[in-house]
């Protein structure tokens, strides 16, 4: 008996070890390397010198780069809000569908993941470009007279971002709405709540965890995505992601790229932290 109890305990480190190794090698290691790199000095043509410097961080404070950060944050907020506005009703009504249609819609939501994201972005070029599919439809139906010139603009990037991150919001909202017991909404109606009141005080509150995780799932990747801004923004829209990529591959200023990455990580974490603080309080109060 004793052996039976002790055996798993003594071997438990063996099952945990790979997890720790993986974390150290692939997550902690690169992270430390990146932070270290950000404090080094750039060599003239290629590589870095191990000489402590905060020059890279000072460089970020320049208005050009600060603006890039601000634009990135703005776009991320816009993307998150837009996915929430579209994704919430979508996920909500999807949860209300009959089993058969639910499966079908779920399939349609997930199907884009089967194709490479880059390829899907090129699809948007065909739609957005001057005299492309969208212009053609709008001009034929008489809604616009001249081409919209949507491609290589801020709205195009926003649409692309919303498009690629929307499924995360939909699925997060869907899963929390589907778990909800609809009889509590009926109970609210029975107790005197109008449809809107029942939605605001019951449905919205109970599906809040879904909304919260949806926001995180959309906001974090939206801060770092750069290929959408490249393909649909045509270089006109510069995000932190693009900046880092350019510094790394074009300018080859590795310390600066590392510093930008560190700041991006800190900014994102800061937003998540504030967000957690706010929503946690709201969730607990549970007032009408």
């Amino acid at each position: 008996m004793k052996n039976n109890i002790h055996k798993p305990k003594s071997k438990i480190w063996m099952t945990i070890l790979p997890m720790y190794l993986f974390t150290i090698i692939f997550i902690a290691g690169p992270l430390i390397y990146m932070v270290a790199l950000s404090f080094m000095t750039k060599k003239d043509v290629w590589g870095v010198v191990a000489q402590f410097s905060t020059a890279s961080y000072q460089k970020i404070l320049k208005p050009v780069y600060m603006n890039t950060f601000i634009q990135s944050i703005k776009l991320s907020f816009a993307t998150t809000i837009a996915t929430l506005i579209i994704g919430y009703p979508f996920g909500y009504f999807m949860a209300k569908l009959s089993e058969r249609y639910k499966k079908l819609v779920m399939f349609l939501v997930v199907v884009p993941f089967w194709t490479n994201a880059l390829v899907r972005m090129y699809g948007w070029i065909i739609i957005f470009r001057s005299n492309g599919v969208l212009d053609h439809i709008l001009m034929k139906s008489g809604l616009t007279r001249t081409p919209l010139k949507l491609l290589y603009s801020y709205p195009a990037v926003l649409i692309g971002m919303v498009y690629s991150l929307l499924p995360f919001m939909i699925l997060a909202v869907f899963s929390s709405t589907e778990k909800m017991d609809w009889s509590i909404v009926e109970a609210a109606r029975d107790l005197g709540a109008s449809r809107l009141q029942a939605f605001l005080t019951i449905t919205l509150k109970v599906t809040l965890p879904g909304i919260l995780s949806g926001i995180i799932l959309v906001f974090i990747p939206s801060m770092g995505l750069f290929f959408i801004a490249d393909i649909l923004g045509g270089g006109k829209v510069m995000l932190v992601g693009n900046l880092i990529r350019d510094q790394l591959f074009t300018t080859r200023d590795w310390p600066f790229a590392a510093a930008l990455s560190v700041v991006l990580m800190i900014v994102t974490s800061l937003f998540i932290w504030i967000y957690r603080k706010i929503t946690h309080v709201k969730e607990l109060e549970g007032i009408l």
Partner: protein
């Protein structure tokens, strides 16, 4: 005339192709305790949802205090529901759950506090104000659901199988508490259950539902002792349903002929003729079993049968003895193969499995049921043949279990007989 609080008129409701309610009518007086009794799927929950406004009827109307509310949203009706699964708001504690309707009505904060405290007092949950629903037991959740519904002082309280998920002991206790609560508050209760004992214990009137129709509406006494249809007789209490043909009609009595013998029943006002098919319901506790042993007759279940009545009765063989909940049930297979159940208190019985018995009852303890059915059936002789087939059914409250145990006993009997010989 008493105050009529709710009038249900010709309500019909279909979901897709299935008609769930087929035209129901009911008037409910203020302060009444009404129970809708029926098997699952008979439309009782739909009836309740239509009263609360969560469902709109296809036809018919609902009048609350004389005002037509058929088209009114549920939040416009002063009717509250205790849901089957309690439906407590998971993100609110006990206090905020109960205060929900009052907050919507914008009642003053001090008053809310006072009324929530009163409601908690009524359901004996003082001290649980800050608990979340997930931290409560089934019985406590039940109490919160009741408190939440009564805090609003509804005209009618609707209860959808509120005790269904509780264990037997707690259920009995809650039955008494609910009944007391209803007396104390004077609120009209409309209560749903599939448990006939619950219905009989608590209600002023019982509505027996079957397939979207009201089979019978009446006091517990009426429904139990004077069932109108064989369904009511079987569903409420244990009744044996026997079909036979009228052989002779005298001034006071009617003799009914069956394959396994003749029985006598009291004559009623019903327009019956000789050779009419009739259905008789007899409660198992009213059945006498007399052992037939070389012409010597011993009576074993209380009630006296004089020698003059001897020729009447049905002949059969004891198939099974089963003791449950203080009642000894004796299944008798009649010579035509049908089964009948007699019951008596205690476990004592001189009858053994395999004994030949004569089945009889006092003429006044039977009820003629399905009088309406009789005429529709008579119009078509082929249907008559079919309906005659299950002419004798033994019924216990749990119908399916009864038939299962019967089947068991049939296979067991030869072995027991062998042992005896």
């Amino acid at each position: 005339m008493k105050d009529i609080i709710l009038e249900i008129e010709h309500i019909e409701k279909s979901f897709g192709d299935t008609q769930v309610l087929k035209g129901i009518n009911l008037s409910i007086e203020k302060g009444e305790f009404i129970t809708l009794l029926g098997a699952s799927g008979c439309g009782k929950t739909t009836t309740l949802r239509i009263i609360s406004g969560l469902e709109t009827p296809d036809k018919g109307s609902i009048k609350l205090n004389g005002i037509d509310v058929t088209k009114d949203e549920p939040n416009k009706r002063n009717v509250n529901t205790v849901f089957q699964n309690y439906a407590l708001f998971p993100h609110m504690n006990v206090e905020t759950n109960i205060a929900y309707s009052l907050k919507l009505k914008k009642v003053e904060k001090n008053q809310i506090k006072q009324r929530v405290a009163e409601a908690l007092q009524l359901v004996q949950l003082i001290g649980f104000e800050k608990r979340m629903p997930s931290e409560l037991s089934g019985g406590q959740k039940q109490r919160v659901a009741i408190a939440r519904a009564i805090v609003n002082n509804p005209d009618i309280l609707l209860l959808d199988e509120p005790l269904g998920a509780l264990d037997l002991q707690l259920r009995r206790q809650m039955q008494i508490e609910l009944k007391n609560l209803q007396k104390e508050l004077g609120i009209t209760f409309i209560y749903i259950t599939h448990d006939q004992e619950e219905a009989i214990n608590m209600s002023d009137r019982i509505v027996v539902m079957k397939d979207g129709r009201f089979e019978q509406v009446g006091t517990p006494h009426e429904v139990y002792d004077l069932p109108k249809t064989s369904y009511v007789a079987r569903f409420v209490g244990t009744a044996n349903i026997i079909r036979g043909q009228i052989e002779t009609m005298e001034k006071e009595t009617i003799t009914v002929h069956m394959k396994s013998g003749n029985v006598q029943v009291k004559r009623t006002d019903s327009p019956l003729q000789i050779h009419d098919e009739v259905t008789i319901a007899i409660r198992s506790e009213n059945i006498n079993l007399i052992e037939e042993n070389d012409g010597e007759k011993i009576q074993i279940v209380e009630g006296k049968v004089s020698k003059d009545e001897e020729p009447l009765g049905l002949t059969g063989i004891v198939k099974e003895k089963n003791f449950a909940a203080g009642l000894l049930r004796i299944n008798v297979e009649l010579i035509d193969g049908k089964e009948i159940t007699a019951s008596r208190h205690g476990i004592d019985s001189t009858l053994e499995v395999g004994d030949r018995v004569r089945v009889s009852w006092k003429p006044e303890t039977y009820v003629l049921v399905d009088m309406v059915d009789k005429y529709t059936k008579n119009s078509n002789s082929s249907i008559l043949q079919n309906t005659l087939e299950p002419s004798l059914i033994s019924m216990s409250p749990d119908v399916t279990d009864g038939t299962k145990s019967t089947k068991c006993s049939l296979t067991d009997i030869p072995a027991i007989d062998d042992g005896k010989e």
